[in-house]
Every structure is written in structure tokens, then in C-alpha cells.
Amino acid sequence: MKLDVTRYPAMVERLADANAFVEACAGRFGLDEGKQFGALLALEEAFVNICRYAYPDSSGEVEVACGREGGSFVLEIADWGSPFDVLSLPEPDITLDIIERPIGGLGIHFIRVMTDCVSYRREDGRNVLRMEFAAAA
């Protein structure tokens, strides 16, 4: 099935717009409250990563696509930056204390934990992060 697609300038200030788009889409799908929270958290982490790192020397766009595929709610987030697989980042050490804790690095951890399935592909000059959330059984 075709996903609903919207593009935004890659600016953190546009997160609320992307959030409203995905929230409405998840609502139409009937995603339960917990999974919806997870999807919106994963959206923020991916969206903000793109805003901060995908276009170091220029401005660019983020494409957000979401909708139903089979029994799952699918959320795809794409950018036109240099090839980069965010899933290649190492897992953070979540046992370090306040002084040792690095500031940052948790975003990709949240994406991994909140999704039922997550994958990266390079397609038509874009980095595409695909996240799937299974409907409640």
C-alpha cells in the first residue's frame, strides 16, 4: 500500500509539524497508545539526527512517509545527505554514572528499542531509515 509522504526543511523547529503528521497517520492506522509514543519518539530521534548531521555545509530536506503495510504501521524517514547508516552507530553504555555519561548517543538506542523492526537502505541518492511497528495482537 502507498505511504503518505511529506517533506520538511531539515530544521529542528519543524519537528512539531512532522510530529503532527505522523500522529494523525498513526491515529488513522489505529496504533495503540504505547506504540504511538514509540513511533513519535523514533521519529524525533531520526528527524533531529538529520537536522544536525545530514547537511553539514548546506540546507536540505527530510522526507517522512508513513502508513499501513500488511499488519504493521510503517514509518520511513529519508534524507539526501552523504551515505550514512545510523544503525552502524555503537550501542551506548547505559550503566555509566552522571559524571562519566556522554551527553548524547541515546537517540539510536531509542530507535532500536521502540521499533519492532528497523532497517537502513541507500536508494536513489537517499538514506532511508525504515521502522515498523506491529499492530497489537
Binding site: 529542528v12 523547529e13 519537528l15 512539531a16 504505547g34 509514543f37 513519535l40 519518539l41 524525533e44 530521534e45 533531529v48 537536522c51 547505559i94 550503566t95 555509566l96 554514572d97 552522571i98 559524571i99 555519561r101 551527553i103 548524547g104 541515546l106 537517540g107 538506542h109 531509542f110 528499542v113
Partner: protein
């Protein structure tokens, strides 16, 4: 995000509502810095009205905790619940901070 600060006898209580995310976390960090610059060093943060937190929000809390460590200050969190509590759990943040069931309990622990 809504950020309210009030002085109690032994600490400053910060009451949060709404979303602590990449858009609002910089304001949180700035407001905390202002309070610390003004001499406050003991805090209770009330999460009762907070519905959402992301890694950027946790970053703001970590910045606060590191700042207070260097000043010999303290912070405790009250009413962390629901989805926000889940985010604390999957990031290990529940082990980093003193957590209490209510603002009154947090104030008592600080005294």
C-alpha cells in the same frame, strides 16, 4: 513545554508540563542555568504534567545534573510516570537520579 519555578524552604521546585524534546530542551537548560547562576543549588523537578521526553530532553536533565555536581548541588525527580518513566528505564536514567513518588517526599529527602 511549560516551566514554572518556585522556592520552597529547602529547595527550588521546577514544575514541567508538555513536551521536553529537541525543540524545548534548550529552553530548559537555559532556565536551569539562570536559576543556578542566581544561587540555587537544590532542586526538585516535578514531572507530573510532562507527557513526552526524548534523548534531547534527557540530555537537558544530564546537563543539569553535571552542572550541580560541580557546584555541590542536588536534584531529585518527582512523579516520573507512564511513558516518561519508560524512557528513563530504557536509557538507564532511573539509576542515575533520585526518584520520589511526590514533591513532598522529594523535599523531605533533601532536608
Amino acid at each position: 513545554m511549560d516551566f514554572q519555578a518556585r522556592k520552597e524552604a529547602n529547595a527550588t521546585v521546577i514544575t514541567l508540563a508538555g513536551r521536553l524534546d529537541a525543540v524545548t530542551a534548550p529552553e530548559y537548560e537555559r532556565r536551569v542555568q539562570e536559576l543556578v547562576n542566581g544561587g540555587d543549588s537544590r532542586f526538585v523537578v516535578d514531572f507530573d504534567g510532562l507527557s513526552y521526553i526524548s534523548s534531547a530532553g534527557l540530555r537537558g536533565l544530564l546537563v543539569m545534573a553535571k552542572l550541580l555536581k560541580t557546584k555541590g548541588g542536588q536534584v531529585r525527580f518527582a512523579n516520573v510516570k507512564g511513558a516518561v518513566k519508560e524512557v528513563f528505564a530504557i536509557s538507564g536514567f532511573n539509576a542515575l537520579f533520585g526518584m520520589d513518588e511526590s514533591v513532598a517526599a522529594a523535599l523531605e529527602t533533601l532536608s
